[in-house]
């Protein structure tokens, strides 16, 4: 997993509420047995025209967002299916952070295990970002995970929450499985204790 410390990027606006993981990556792309190649399916129902060509109006297809790494979404991003293919597809395309007012629980867990940072902001900061996305084509924001701050295009800084364990794993770029494996003896002791 790529470590995450700071990130500065143009904001890609995809400001719909309740973007579900079926939209992020439709089920027809889930027949893979590895994690690669999913970026082609990212938002595919919205991204391609009926003839299969990219819709030039869809943000991910616009030239100004080709190297952008931060997605601005509406409320409750990532609801629905537990498919980890959703963060795999986002990261595969190049997204490293998503900003929303809230994230679905399973999506948040999956994102954090793939170096994808869910940045939760309050309604006021979100409104500022939405407004600036409507007036500017390439607003830039900055994220500093260490201090848990998001710098808005107007220079204001807001803080965002993240649990300390996930933050440590992201900054170091380490897999959470390591922590569990370190506690094998406690797990074995629990199994022997007859709690079950």
């Amino acid at each position: 997993m790529q470590p995450f410390e700071t990130l500065e990027s143009v904001l890609i606006p995809l400001i719909h509420n309740d973007i579900d993981t079926d939209q992020i990556i439709p089920a027809r792309y889930l027949k893979v047995t590895d994690k690669s190649g999913l970026a082609d399916g990212l938002f595919s129902s919205w991204r391609y025209l009926p003839d299969g060509k990219p819709d030039p109006d869809f943000p991910l297809n616009r030239p100004e967002y080709q190297n952008a790494q931060i997605l601005l979404a509406g409320d409750n991003f990532g609801c629905g299916s537990s498919r980890e293919h959703a963060p795999w597809a986002l990261v595969g395309w190049g997204i490293r952070a998503v900003i929303s007012t809230s994230f679905a629980d399973i999506f948040r867990n999956n994102a954090l295990k793939n170096g994808l940072l869910p940045v939760t902001v309050d309604a006021r900061a979100h409104a500022v970002l939405v407004a600036v996305s409507e007036t500017e084509s390439t607003p830039t924001v900055g994220i500093d995970l260490g201090s848990q701050t998001l710098r808005l295009p107007n220079g204001d800084e807001v803080t965002f929450p993240i649990d300390q364990f996930s933050k440590m794993c992201l900054i170091k770029g380490i897999d959470q499985l390591g922590y569990l494996l370190e506690h094998k003896s406690q797990i074995a002791a629990y199994e022997k204790s007859g709690q079950l």
């Binding site: 509420n17 079926d22 439709p26 889930l30 027949k31 893979v32 129902s45 299916s81 499985l177 569990l180």
Partner: protein, 469 residues
Amino acid sequence: MPKPKTLFEKVWDSHVVLHEPNSPAILYIDKHLIHEVTSPQAFSGLREKGLRVRRPDRTVATMDHSTPTIALSLDLIDEMGKKQLQQLETNCREFGVPLYDMQNPQRGIVHVMVPELGLTQPGMTIVCGDSHTSTHGAFGALAFGIGTSEVEHVLATQSLLQHKPKTMRVEFNGQLPNGVTAKDMILALIAKIGVGGGTGYVIEYTGPALRALNMDARMTICNMTIEAGARAGMIAPDDVTFEYLAGREFAPQGEAWDAAIAYWQTLPSDPGAAFDKTISLDVAAFEPMITYGTNPGMGAPIHQPIPAPQDEPDPAKRAALQKALRYMDLDHGESLDGHPVDVVFIGSCTNSRLSDLRAAAAILEDQKVADGVHLLVVPGTETIRRQAEAEGLDQIFKQAGGDWRYAGCSMCLAMNGDQLEPGQYAASTSNRNFESRQGKDGRTFLVSPLTAAATAISGQITDPRTLMK
């Protein structure tokens, strides 16, 4: 006096292996369920790291998402789907995980098959790489969906890192009217609290209307709990639960059964146990529900007009409703009662159990499916298929002009070729009406099995109470 605990807290507390400061808890997992779509990368991870499955005896796998429903053969699906299912066979063989494969007479949708086998029991922790794992909470288990990284964690350590969720109590009061079902209860709850209303919570369902439901209906309610954003729904075990479990293949037997019952009876929330939030609903006023939009929260009673976007004060919600109605090609102001459909799908881990099929068959008996409408009935497991056939339910569906299939997820998520054509409307007993969920550009109305059956006969959305004897 010890502090009164909720059902959730009892199950949670008894499964915490370790909880260090500034870390999530290590939660022990009693049962880990596997299917073909969300597991391949997890097994690959084990191979890369040289790890084994810690407890194959606590792991069980099935084939359900991509499996064909027209015959029990993997040769009938596309190459990628076939390869993925074969990979599951390889993984299970290599790591010693029991697999209910295509030839197994008990195979079926993971969340229908596992309870049916008696593997789901009160007080357990159960996970699966599938959001509808919430289904198993109907037995008083703590059951939730996980991602593939977490599937790997559980395979390797039989444990998961988890932050303790908040608790919400949802109380269903009153008596459910005739023709109104558990599906309508859960759709009404989601319409009330929204698709994010349960985020961060585990919901415990209580109340007399809930207690009056059988296990199939309770599973329907817990199944769709994830559609409100809550990862888990739970129902305290009672005599209905125990009667369901008694004698099932993997349920405790003899003295172990008595000991299990004694333990299970300690699980219900203590009097005075505190919940972070409580919601009360009177089901006596409930009607058959239907969704009009593109998430399960966009639902209303069947005769109620579709809400107007201009009446929605929140601009983001207004935009969401406008987008949904444009996708669905629907106008506000009219109800969906009488809206034509192309397909009726009765199936999925929400509504494919024997009592669902019986309810639909009671409406369809001696009736015909409307011209031009495709009725697809897909039982949840092969066991249910045989039970339904023994009762003659398959004959009722077939004589009505419907399609009777083998078990699987089928058109719920359209991975196996059972899918809507662009623009088609479906009345579906499944759980998600997301854009393109049941086929690219298909349109879904979520309904109960009763409403689905009534709709199949008329070819348009129909209140089942108009057809009930």
